[in-house]
Symmetry: C2
Subunit: 412 residues, 2 copies
């Protein structure tokens, strides 16, 4: 059945290794329903404002299959947020002008909580303006901090890569304990500790890295930290610590904020990253232990060569489900994952209101962190373990992965 109107798809925020799996899921599902046009926004909502749109139906199936396994946002991404849903706002007017011109009736936005805020505003603006539009968000974040969903596409692959890197770097540093006993690995993740916590999967034996994990959910105590590090050092002869970017003190201030001027990104979030150096200096000053600080940076958001097959499949599932929900008439929701009860890992999709997701953050529950606040519990590990199962098979040519780009044929 051919549906009325066209569909548009955008990607927004920092990419994950599987962000294009969701794009692929949307396109492949939409193709089943005979839409006249499947349109891509270049750089998310910025592409609508600038009318930089591309024809996704003309892309070869072979290209789309390859895009699915390519890191980075294939459409281009953005960090642009709408600041109102008021239909008289120039940006909102511009968006609906472009939508009307291209007869857009389905809007799919793959992103995190900031992006869900944008989708929410567009949904509300459409309602206020009386413009017939279905808006569905598709979750995407390695941080796993979106509310209303069991977990987020992108998280599993980041965990697999980070845990593997911790395992490998841990063995490396262990063999160098006599010259450099302490290592701090800083993952991405601002206000929630999902990703650093999940690196605990790397620790199969007590001696294995990581030994200590710190959470933004728990106010940081320098005194407790030094006791943790010293006692771990005495036990193993070295210490491997994992933390995210945003530890806070008992006043809720970021640790880095004390020593450096904190820049903000274009969403007004503080730009962090100095926590590793902060901890390094504490350890070297107070305990006299030489310390290395590692940041995996965007590699953990793009390492498709060691992505989780489960994550790849689920990200595509989220994309397909988004189309199905929109065709059922749903609007103003993000696709959510619901884990079926029982010992065997089974997932179904559901919906959560965009307004609930927008600008909210889901914290790691206190009961999933040990009493000491320096490691996750077994229950947490049981939650995260299914998400990293399975390896991907990527094409290799002359020893390196084969990735690709969309043709990006412009629509006028």
């Amino acid at each position: 059945v051919a549906k009325k109107g066209n569909i548009i798809i955008g990607q927004s925020g920092g990419p994950t290794p599987v962000i294009n799996c969701s794009l692929y899921g949307i396109i492949s599902e939409a193709k089943k329903y005979g839409f006249e046009k499947i349109i891509g926004m270049i750089n998310g909502i910025e592409g609508v404002l600038k009318e930089e749109l591309i024809d996704l139906k003309c892309e070869k199936e072979e290209t789309l299959e390859s895009i699915k396994m390519t890191p980075g946002a294939a459409l281009g991404s953005c960090r642009y947020m709408l600041n109102t849903e008021d239909p008289s706002d120039p940006n909102i007017k511009r968006i609906f002008e472009v939508f009307s011109k291209h007869d857009i009736r389905y809007f799919f936005y793959i992103g995190g909580n900031d992006s869900m805020d944008t989708a929410d505003k567009i949904n509300k603006a459409a309602q206020k303006a009386g413009y017939d539009l279905r808006v569905i968000g598709i979750p995407k974040t390695v941080d796993n901090d979106l509310v209303g969903t069991d977990h987020c596409p992108g998280f599993g692959s980041a965990v697999k890569y980070v845990a593997t890197s911790v395992m490998e770097a841990g063995l490396h540093t262990e063999s160098m304990y006599t010259s450099e006993p302490v290592t701090i690995l800083v993952t991405v993740g601002r206000n929630t500790g999902w990703l650093p916590a999940a690196s605990a999967l790397a620790r199969r034996d007590e001696i294995d890295a990581p030994h200590l994990i710190y959470f933004p959910e728990i106010p940081f105590s320098i005194e407790k930290f030094l006791v943790d590090v010293q006692s771990t050092y005495e036990k193993f002869g070295g210490v491997f610590i994992v933390t995210g970017e945003g530890l806070v003190d008992s006043n809720g201030s970021y640790l880095t904020a004390r020593t450096s001027d904190v820049a903000t990104d274009s969403f007004g979030h503080p730009e962090l990253g100095g926590v590793g150096d902060y901890l390094k200096h504490i350890i070297e000053d107070k305990l006299g232990l030489r310390t290395r600080c590692i940041k995996l940076d965007i590699c953990q958001q793009s390492a498709m060569h060691f992505a989780s097959q489960t994550d790849v499949l689920e990200a595509a599932l989220a994309g397909r489900a988004a189309v199905d929900y929109a065709l059922e008439g749903k609007s103003g929701y993000m696709v959510a994952f619901e884990r079926e009860p029982g010992d065997v890992y089974r997932l179904r999709t559901g919906l959560v209101e965009l307004s609930r997701v927008a600008n909210s953050e889901r914290k790691v529950p206190r009961q999933w962190i040990n009493e000491e606040g320096n490691f996750p519990t077994q229950e947490f590990l049981s939650y995260v373990r299914p998400l990293i199962q399975g390896e991907v098979s990527i094409n290799i040519k002359e020893g390196l992965p084969v990735y690709t780009r969309l043709r990006k044929k412009r629509i006028k």
Copy 2:
């Protein structure tokens, strides 16, 4: 034929992903000859000085096979150097005391140029003291900076991982050019540009990362750099730069030395790493382009999950060859790789004097860098491409690699 005396093996300096392949090669070859004892030094020469020695013959074959594919130095490594070859020096006396006690007649040392200096001193001290000893070094460095060999075990795997990371991070950053147009990725490597240069393999199309590569072999010009970055930005809308840790100005001073106090490691080498931030500030100040700086750090020295199969095989070959040369009576040499002439990549082993390798560095030849000094030539890429061919198959359990440790049974 059982040979007289026992053999001892040590690992020294920063590990590579394949450092244990060489260890495996030595052990498996030595086992063929019926040595009574195959002894491992815990933490390199420090293990001899402290008589911390382990029995490698009692390790199960299954463990050794798994150790071969495990990152980190399985015996433990060190950054300890001998400062003399004088037989009357207390350290040298102690070493030969331990050697005599355990009837050590074959000394194998897996390491870089600092480690080859240690091996060279031990070889010379043995000659002076009239102690019958065969000393053979096995090359190991991701920096590829050892003289007298076509390339070094460890380099190929590091290149494969770094080039893949550049490819993945490049696609990631490309999709974010509108919010952050410039990325600098800093590899390890102090005074030579082998590893950053080899990341150029990631660039199959002109638009692909990396766009610009800078070399410690060529004095850095800020003016030229800014022109390079600006013109690349105008062409592609973003820029991906790769460099090692040690760029120098026209006076030969490290770029970072200007702004920060330069610490030194325990070998007296300056501790670098600030070059990325240095370049980031230049770009942001002078060109107003937001810039991200990534360091892969020890991940590039430990990422066995994406190691080069060629490198794995060659590292083991170097280990086996070391034993064979020693049994032929050679001493005071490092195993070298010689590439056979012709279009098909074929390797044979050879020998280079330890004294030639010790504390020397092989630079990237000027003719392998383009005239502008900001990218390697095709000839260089033809040199490096064979070294990254083939993927390893590592054991995976519950989504993560299976690595192992030696039993480390102490020898008294």
